[in-house]
Chain length 337, copies 2
């Protein structure tokens, strides 16, 4: 937008000097007088001229604005993250601008562009499910604007990251079922090629192994939405007599499976105990209420801002990138014994 | 922020002319040469110089960015509005910047300030519950930036508005209970001093009167949150044997009252039928599923953008302010017969 339209030629034309003078002045070339340097630099700053090389030197010109890009505002988890981010940021005098990628790579690229055009001091991002190329994020960081990734992080990017320990959340959920007497535990899983699917499956697997229970592949179903549960209904009901526990990869799947079991004469938790993952508001309105893993969105939001502000307060320090892992906790309710 | 820091004096100093030359050039004064005018104007635009008097003339310099201020992102209704706004805006080449006031007047004022500093082409706002003074919104509109209010609108402001017909939503909800055989209908109401509380109560009242049923003040309870229902539990249970229907001012209250009735031996809908207002995702996961009034957030979002874009496309037209009223519809589910 605006700022990206201004070129060295524009500056040269307006100030009445040659483009090479502008270019050399910006680079502190010794052939250029101090007065000219000052004029060109002041002017370049005023017109928001910002090539990569200049980004760092302009970093001291703070907007006190942090850009936030999230995949889907409608999710309770992301709403909690936003609250955590805003409460911490406002308390420190920062303003938050939110953009929604809507799980769309193109929109995410546009969001990054718009927010950097606005000269945000830093970015907090959870990448969309459809993003496979991360140049747009890497470029921001290389231009000297700190980026913190949360929840949906990207392994290959050298950036600050805040994540929840999905493996451990799944492990404690499954251990809880085992301690409550379950021996045949169905896992409703997200696709294993997604990090979240992989980590939660491995947590489930580890809990079984730790307790000398066998991992039965027939008891691992790719099923991570309410719609999936409905379409797999008859298969799930055919497994129901053989199982005594279900660990679902998220709350909506847990709630859907609980309802299908109940409609077909199975009692929760008497016949089959159910644990979800997320702890959204729905977990407390179902009957029975749902035992689930709390995802700690608010805390993730606060941690993300904390890391970003520390970096902004020490722009020239060589701080190692952090990988903050937040440990989830189990919320025990009525769907388990 | 940035743009507001640049004064006529700055421009004069950088261009090497007097402040009065700058001022007169911006006003197209005949004493100033065309070349100087062009230089000053181009420059003023580049540095985002924008006193009120200039606002209109700079309106053609579009950022293709729309600012959105909402009270609480966590509400399903507002998430739906955001989706409606974004789908329409992106399709038309506009980008949406979202700020959350968190029901806080001070933050709302800061949001307005930040978004106008970013030179958004227009604003879409739902005011916070704590906002009693509307100067910050009025000023934006007077500066030539169109503002559309939705849902929480302000009667005294002359602006485009998009609202749902709360009166009619409540009326059709109550009529539905009456047609399903209810004669003694409890209304769980929002405070009557809030427009939403007043309109929904009046819709309930109108439905009773239209059907020659008496309005019994003992059957109107101020009770609009899950917590209210829990604290009024024993009072509601003491009324339960006398009633056959409940119209709740929102879904969470409807769901909470349904659960309390069920835990105490009343059957829904057999003994008491229940209707909510909102149609959030919870309405489909309760058992029985909840009959409720759909609030049409997505449609409100689309309408808000449509009105705004029409105004942006016709900046000099004298378009009357619109007051778009969206008619809600009833979603019949299992909590009524």
């Amino acid at each position: 937008m605006r700022s990206s339209h201004i070129t060295i030629k524009d500056i040269a034309r307006i100030l009445g000097v040659s483009p090479s003078t502008v270019s050399r002045a910006l680079k502190d070339h010794p052939d250029i007088s101090e007065d000219t340097k000052k004029l060109v630099k002041t002017f370049a700053e005023k017109v928001n001229y910002r090539p990569n090389a200049l980004a760092l030197s302009l970093r001291n010109r703070k907007t006190n604005m942090i850009g936030l890009i999230i995949p889907e505002i409608v999710h309770h988890f992301f709403s909690s993250v936003i609250s955590g981010i805003e409460d911490m940021a406002y308390a420190e005098g920062y303003h938050i601008m939110i953009c929604q990628s809507n799980e769309n790579y193109q929109r995410e690229v546009m969001n990054v562009q718009a927010l950097t055009d606005l000269r945000v001091d830093g970015l907090i991002v959870s990448v969309s499910k459809t993003t496979k190329d991360f140049d747009h994020i890497e470029k921001v960081s290389k231009d000297g604007i700190p980026v913190v990734l949360f929840d949906r992080v990207v392994e290959q990017l050298d950036l600050d990251k805040v994540v929840i320990d999905d493996f451990d959340g799944a492990r404690i959920a499954t251990e809880h079922l085992i301690k409550s007497g379950c021996k045949n535990i169905l896992h409703l899983s997200a696709p294993i090629h997604l990090l979240i699917g992989k980590n939660r499956f491995e947590g489930y697997e580890a809990a079984l192994k730790n307790n000398n229970l066998e991992v039965d592949n027939d008891l691992v179903l790719k099923c991570d939405t309410r719609e999936d549960v409905i379409s797999l209904q008859s298969h799930i009901l055919s497994l129901a007599p053989k199982i005594d526990g279900i660990f679902a990869v998220n709350d909506s799947t847990a709630i859907a499976v609980m309802q299908i079991l109940q409609k077909n004469g199975f009692k929760v938790p008497e016949d089959i105990q159910v644990v979800g993952f997320g702890d959204g508001p729905n977990a407390t309105i179902t009957s029975p209420t749902l035992t689930t893993v709390e995802q700690k969105g608010y805390e993730m939001g606060r941690e993300s801002v904390k890391i970003l502000l520390h970096r902004l307060a020490n722009p020239n320090a060589n701080i190692d990138f952090q990988n903050k892992i937040i440990t989830p906790i189990l919320k025990e309710r009525e769907s388990t014994k």
